[in-house]
Amino acid sequence: MSEEDFDGGVVKKFMYVNRKAPYGTIYALEVLEMVLISAAFDQDVHLAFLDDGVFQIKKGQTPANIGVKNFSPTFRALEGYDIEKLFVEKESLEERGLTEADLLVPVEVISRADMGKLMAEMDVILTA
């Protein structure tokens, strides 16, 4: 891919890998801020949820009880930014007793092996 035509519409495959629970640390919230910015750059954005990161898109979050803003509705707004490639690792869901029905946005559930293959296809991977 040419590096000279940044303004000429280079599109790379970006993947944001969410591995951490939504609360307890700020990582999940600040990843989401990165995701929203990358949408403005018209890149091919992918989101992956694995490990405790699957809790980020669980329905029924009420963090007001711990004095923290509930940012989970933002995931539902991603569609409006043309960010629709959300992948969740099957094993991570199962290990935590969750199913696709527990999630607040449409996702594609894929196996750990397939997640690895998908990552290998990406140009830029940003993890937290």
Binding site: E3, F6, K12, E33, I37, V124, L126
Partner: protein, 119 residues
């Protein structure tokens, strides 16, 4: 190779800040290009001008500054992450600049590799 470096952790609490610096230094010494170092999350604290470690310890902030001076490194602190943590123009160490997350995305587009340092 053209590298972009993302520093996600603050100095002293986390080894990631030192490792990022050592990686950048080694890459530059080997003749690679470092397009940009971007500081995000607690990584913005790498640019705190008020940092004053004990004299028998390394100075992470000064290490970055020296490297930037020697190689004309572009060191960018995320404005939103910085505001949250009190890293603003007033507290910003010389050699760093404050800008938006778009600078990280641009690095992702321009570089051969983005290397992330942090958990």
């Amino acid at each position: 190779m053209k590298f972009g470096i993302l520093v996600n952790e603050g100095p002293y609490t986390h080894q990631a800040a030192d490792t990022a610096y050592q990686f950048a230094k080694a890459a530059l010494e080997k003749g690679h290009e470092v397009f940009r170092v971007f500081f995000y999350y607690d990584g913005v604290n790498n640019a705190n001008a008020l940092t004053e470690p004990p004299t028998d310890d390394r100075n992470v902030v000064k290490n970055w500054q020296k490297l930037a001076e020697q190689y004309k490194l572009d060191m960018v602190v995320c404005v939103a992450a910085g505001l949250r943590r009190g890293i603003v123009e007033k507290t910003l160490a010389p050699g760093f600049r404050i800008s938006g997350l778009g600078q990280l995305i641009e690095a992702g587009i321009q570089c051969d590799r983005i290397v992330t340092f942090g958990d």
